[in-house]
């Protein structure tokens, strides 16, 4: 089978292709990025050298179109699919202006090629939930744009540059991950970062936002406190966030947050983002005061659909845990992370008490300073809770007795799938036994799922 004469394989996925043809029997066009093994390629090149044919008129014309594309962008005017494919696989992705490309071409293959040529390694996409490559490209583009923008530049150029970028990319951006922001130069009195309000309010489809105000490198602009939010920063961020009506996941990490700032954040997230389901403050040193401020600002009905709350390493003590447990009662959380917060046994007890009313699936209480006094409550939790799948209690001093008690009642829970008890003072054998029980749980569940599936199939057959 010879496919060198046409361009169709560039749009067909490899899996589909493999299903129909054996790769050894097939000759693919050069440069389509689909040559599979070395031998084959060598053979192909040798073969190509032999043929030494003149290019067809069609190819010459298409080459001319590709060369003059910046003046005369012809794409939709070409009616044949093959011609389009040729153009897609031969257009120069680096030098052509992004606006031109984005307005004329939406083809997935082309944008994948753009991404691969600009950043080499492509992100792994979960199967079945692939997103258009143009979105991925634009997101990365905006991310780099923001991360590398100096505050001075922003002030000098005003919002024109940002406006231009957002005009091109705004419609494609669903998730944004900003891992660092450039600090202000030391000549400035205040440490303001670039304002994010204009940016955020112009991304109508933004669903996931991961934000950090820290800097990763200590350059000439580095100064103490540049990893913190200034009052102006928080006001602008809050203003922008209240415009993000589609936001579903919000994460802010490695940034020190003051209690008053959390109040602002809570207010804007509550009022502006009605679809918010995941909220994370990682390594933010929020503290009890921050938690209290955050929760006091929320009303009874706010964050009604929040399913994940991540408060890793936030200096929350038992007081904060008590406040949390009191307020979280009406939130349908599925995942709660309180890692590295010294909430002690009392706080854990309060949290466990609240868990009874929640459809929670995963809870992470590792390194929380929990002691063996929690044993009784934990046993109750294990016995009674029916939705909990994953418990992480590592790095807490629980002791041998805890393990013994747990061993007695462990078999009464048929739901739990994972229980992390590393570094908790339990013996290895005991942990292994727990592991076996949990494995059995998993096995049983899988078996039941299989049976259910067969039953469904059978029912469907009967109905047919």
């Amino acid at each position: 089978m010879d496919f060198t004469y046409c361009e169709f394989p560039s749009t067909v996925s490899i899996d589909t292709f493999k299903a129909y043809f054996h790769l050894k029997d097939v000759r693919l066009p050069k440069g389509s990025g689909k040559s599979f093994d070395q031998n084959h390629q060598l053979y192909q090149e040798a073969n190509e050298g032999q043929t030494n044919q003149a290019k067809s008129l069609r190819h010459l014309v298409l080459d001319a179109i590709v060369e003059n594309w910046s003046e005369l962008p012809l794409y939709r005017q070409l009616t044949r699919r093959e011609d389009r494919n040729y153009i897609l696989s031969h257009l120069d992705t680096q030098t052509l202006p992004l606006q031109l490309l984005s307005s004329y071409i939406h083809d997935d293959f082309f944008w994948q090629r753009c991404y691969a040529e600009r950043w080499r390694s492509a992100p792994i996409q979960p199967r079945g939930r692939e997103r258009p490559w143009i979105n991925i490209y634009m997101e990365r583009h905006v991310q780099e744009f923001i991360e590398n923008m100096q505050t001075v530049d922003y002030e000098l150029e005003g919002e024109g540059n940002v406006q231009a970028t957002l005009d091109i990319c705004g419609a494609y951006i669903n998730q944004l991950e900003i891992n660092q922001l450039q600090p202000a130069p030391p000549t400035n009195d205040n440490n303001d970062h670039i304002p994010l309000d204009y940016l955020l309010s112009n991304l109508p489809d933004l669903q996931r936002l991961r934000l950090s105000y820290s800097t990763k490198t200590a350059g000439i602009n580095y100064q103490i406190g540049c990893n913190q939010l200034t009052p102006k920063d928080i006001l602008l961020l809050v203003k922008g966030l209240s415009q993000c009506h589609e936001l579903r996941q919000f994460c802010i990490h490695n940034t020190k947050l003051m209690p008053y700032q959390l109040r602002f954040l809570a207010h804007s997230l509550d009022k502006g983002c009605h679809h918010l389901t995941r909220l994370s403050f990682l390594h933010c040193a929020v503290g009890d005061a921050g938690i209290r401020g955050f929760l006091e600002t929320c009303g009874k009905e706010s964050f009604g659909i929040l399913t994940m709350l991540d408060l890793t390493n936030n200096k929350i003590t038992e007081e904060g845990a008590h406040i949390l447990s009191r307020t979280l009662r009406h939130v349908p959380l599925q995942r709660l992370v309180l890692r590295l917060n010294p909430i002690q046994s009392d706080g854990a007890a309060a949290i466990f008490h609240t868990l009874q009313a929640m459809p929670i699936r995963e809870i992470d209480l590792s390194s929380c300073g929990i002691t063996a006094s929690i044993t009784k409550l934990f046993m109750m939790l294990i016995c009674q809770h029916t939705t909990l799948l994953d418990i992480d209690l590592s790095n807490n001093t629980l002791g041998e007795d805890f393990g013994k008690h747990l061993m007695k009642i462990m078999s009464s829970n048929k739901v739990l799938e994972e229980l992390d008890l590393r570094n908790t003072g339990l013996s290895l054998t005991m942990r292994r036994k727990f592991q076996e029980i949990l494995l059995r749980n998993i096995e049983r569940k899988r078996h039941e799922a299989l049976k259910q599936k067969q039953r469904d199939k059978f029912k469907a057959m009967i109905q047919m």
């Binding site: 990893n227 990682l282 010294p342 390194s367 590393r422």
Partner: protein, 757 residues
């Protein structure tokens, strides 16, 4: 992916990571590395050896290593368990399943295990790190507390000392001896130096603490770097091993699939081959059969050929004989044919002749048919003309009839008029005669009375009472009718063209003022409300006209439907409608609701007892019109509507009441119409109510006015009076003579006197 997450984790931590203490992990004593692999294992096990080898090579932290060792032992145990377990029912059951399913299950469990193991391996680093961080925090807290405590204690001590020194200074002031002062100052100096040295010690301790922290920070950073290294290495290894494992399992799966395919293909080939062999054998058998059959058929054909030849010979002889016979027959037949042909010729001639005749006859028939058609057409034409003529005659006759009808009507009119005229004439003559007679009688009676009173000196008695005029009342009625006819331009009601409304426009000024006041509003209301009385076609026709014209046409039609033709009807209408109206200027609140209710109540009552109502109405109608008016007025007064003050305003009416009033009016008019009709009829029939006999009697009555006694009296009186007149005449003569004689005497006397003188 977990690896990625952990990488991020470590990077994140890098910012505020520092000192960490030794992770005190309890390691069970019985833990040891078991590297003895079972010998007979599939590729999966050999693969694990490689993993173990990879793990062994790692150089990393002690704690992590411990965790890993534990992990390994777990794995080992699980592996052993796999081999030790006897083949249970489950496995037997599994054996029945297809090889691919088995392989799939196996792969999934093993890969799950592997990933779990790898996960644990990688997360171990994180857990250990966290542990260290936790310990560090605890340690830092205690250290800080200690330091703070020390500092506080020291500061309190120094403060006490400082106070002491301060107190001493005041004491020193009192001392006057220089030596003692010197000593004391020296002592003070010593004490101050002591405090200073204490402070220095404290500062040194703090600095040592800072040193320690810095050192720890450096150490931690290094360790973090090594952790990172370890983590990266592990992650890489894990990725590598997982990749390889997956590849291997994929390969194994592929192998099993291939095996299965091979198996399938072998069975299929076997099947095919048996089929093919069977086919081949079958084919040969068949060929044999065909060959033998062929031989048999060849023999048979030969035999048949021989017999056929003999048969042909005999047949030829027989045929030759036959041929001769047939030739003879042919000759005979030819003769016959000749004869027949001659016959046929003759017949043909005859038939041709006949044909010609037929043609002629046909033509004749055709001609006749044509003629008949012509006659039919003619008849039809005449029929049509006749029909038209008939129609025309009918039309003419109907026109005649109309004309005659109109003539009759005219005649009737004329007759009516002439009757009226005659009657008038009759009346006039009657009147004249009656009056003359009356005057004559009066004169006679007058004279008679004079005679009686003067001549006879007797009281005069009227011999006959005065005769009343019997024609009086009829005269009056007819007069009113006449006047009314003149005014309204009456059309006889049996006339056919009733649609032509009387175009005679009565002067509006004839109407009473209240009627005028009402009309303005009423017209429009009626036009709006009484739509049901108008034909729908008409509504369509008047669609495009102006509003004013529409109202006019509608009013016209409604009036036609209500049979309102005269001013009289108009007044009647006004009367009926008046109670339902009110003056918007004087009564701005409109008709009182009580009034409305009353109206409706009355209506329902009437409906409930129609008989009573009829009687009432009849009574009312029977009453003379002025009385009826009074009744109406009383009703109005009873209704409590005072509209006396507004004489000059236009009246307005509730639209809802309009229909009700209209209804009332129609019922009333119906009664009235019925009544008047009958009366009119009576008038028509008995225009002159008296018979000839009556007239004759009437006039003959006058004969009785002069009885014979009276006549005789008058004759004798005449005679006497005549005589008396004679006497009187003589007396007059004598009187004249006397007068003359007297005058003569006078004159003579005069003359005598003259002479006398």
């Amino acid at each position: 992916m977990d690896e990625n997450e952990d990488e991020v984790e470590v990077v994140e931590k890098g910012v505020d990571h520092d000192l960490g203490s030794e992770a005190d992990v309890d390691v069970p004593a019985e833990e040891q590395e078991i590297e003895t692999e079972p010998v007979e294992m599939d590729s999966w096990e050999s693969f694990h050896e490689r993993i173990d080898a990879l793990l062994a090579k790692e150089h990393c932290d002690k704690t992590i290593r411990k965790l890993d060792n534990r992990r390994l032992s777990v794995l080992q145990r699980v592996r052993n368990k796999y081999h030790d377990t006897p083949k249970s029912a489950v496995e037997r059951c599994q054996a029945q399943r297809s090889q691919i399913d088995q392989q799939l299950d196996l792969s999934s469990t093993r890969l799950d295990e592997l990933t779990r193991f790898g996960n644990e391996l990688v997360t171990n680093v994180r857990v250990a790190n966290e542990r260290r961080e936790l310990n560090r925090r605890l340690f830092e807290a205690s250290q800080q507390q200690n330091l703070q405590l020390n500092l506080q204690r020291e500061s309190i001590e120094t403060m006490a000392k400082f106070d002491d020194i301060k107190a001493r200074w005041t004491e020193l002031e009192e001392i006057n001896e220089p030596m003692m002062l010197w000593d004391q100052i020296e002592e003070q100096k010593k004490r101050i130096a002591d405090i200073m040295s204490n402070k220095d010690g404290m500062i040194a301790a703090c600095q040592a603490e800072i040193e320690r922290m810095n050192a720890k920070y450096d150490f931690d950073r290094e360790r973090q770097a090594s952790d990172l290294c370890c983590l990266v290495e592990r992650v890489d290894h894990q990725v590598e091993t997982l990749k390889e494992a997956y590849k291997q399992h994929l390969q194994m799966l592929r192998h099993t699939i291939e095996d299965e395919r091979q198996l399938f293909s072998i069975t299929a080939v076997e099947k095919w081959r048996t089929f093919f062999d069977a086919l081949n054998a079958n084919f040969e058998e068949k060929a044999e059969l065909v060959r033998s059959r062929e031989k048999f058929y060849a023999k048979q054909t030969r035999q048949i050929n021989e017999s056929q030849e003999e048969l042909t010979k005999s047949t030829r002889i027989r045929l030759e004989k036959e041929c001769e016979r047939l030739e003879l027959e042919l000759r005979r037949t030819r003769d016959n044919v000749l004869m027949n042909s001659e016959k046929l010729d003759y017949n043909y001639q005859v038939l041709q002749k006949r044909n010609e005749e037929n043609v002629i006859i046909n033509n004749q028939q055709k001609r006749r048919v044509a003629r008949l058609h012509e006659t039919i057409a003619k008849t039809r034409r005449s029929l049509k003309s006749l029909r038209q003529q008939g129609k025309r005659t009918i039309a003419r006759l109907s026109a005649d009839i109309y004309k005659l009808h109109s003539n009759i009507n005219d005649m009737e009119m004329k007759a009516y008029h002439s009757r009226l005229n005659n009657r008038e004439k009759f009346n006039r003559v009657w009147q004249i005669n009656y009056r003359e007679l009356q005057s004559l009688i009066e004169r006679v009676y007058h004279i008679d009375r004079i005679i009686h009173e003067q001549q006879l000196a007797m009281p005069w008695i009227r011999p006959v009472p005065p005769i009343p005029n019997i024609n009086k009342s009829a005269k009056k009625g007819s007069k009113i009718l006449e006047r009314f006819d003149l005014r309204a331009g009456k059309v006889p009601k049996n006339r056919q063209i009733t649609k032509a409304m009387p175009k005679h426009k009565p002067d509006l000024k004839d109407l009473p003022p209240e009627s005028l006041r009402l009309m303005r509003n009423l017209m429009r209301k009626l036009a709006d409300r009484g739509g049901f009385l108008i034909e729908e076609r008409l509504l369509k026709i008047i669609e495009p006209h102006a509003d004013q014209e529409k109202v006019l046409v509608r009013i016209d039609n409604i009036f036609a439907a209500l049979r309102i033709r005269h001013m009289r009807d108009m007044q009647e209408l006004t009367k009926v409608f008046l109670p339902y109206t009110y003056c918007p200027n004087c009564q701005p609140q409109g008709l009182s609701p009580r009034k409305c209710a009353e109206v409706f109540m009355k209506d329902t009552k009437l409906n409930r007892s129609p008989d009573a109502f009829d009687e009432k109405v009849q009574q009312r109608l029977l009453q003379p019109p002025d009385r009826r008016n009074q009744v109406n007025k009383t009703i109005l007064v009873k209704g409590g509507v005072e509209r006396e003050p507004c004489k000059h305003h236009y009246l307005v009416m509730e639209p809802a009441l309009c229909l009700h009033a209209m209804n009332l009016y129609t019922s009333k008019m119906h009664k009235l119409m019925y009544e008047s009709e009958s009366s009119k009829h009576a008038n028509d029939v008995n225009l002159i109510q008296f018979t000839d006999d009556e007239i004759r009697n009437f006039w003959r009555q006058f004969l009785n006015c002069f009885p014979t006694s009276k006549c005789k009296l008058w004759k004798t009186l005449e005679h006497g009076l005549n005589h008396y007149v004679e006497v009187l005449k003589m007396r007059v003569q004598y009187d004249a003579e006397v007068v003359f004689l007297r005058r003569q005497n006078e004159e003579l006397r005069h003359l005598l006197q003259k002479f006398k003188v």
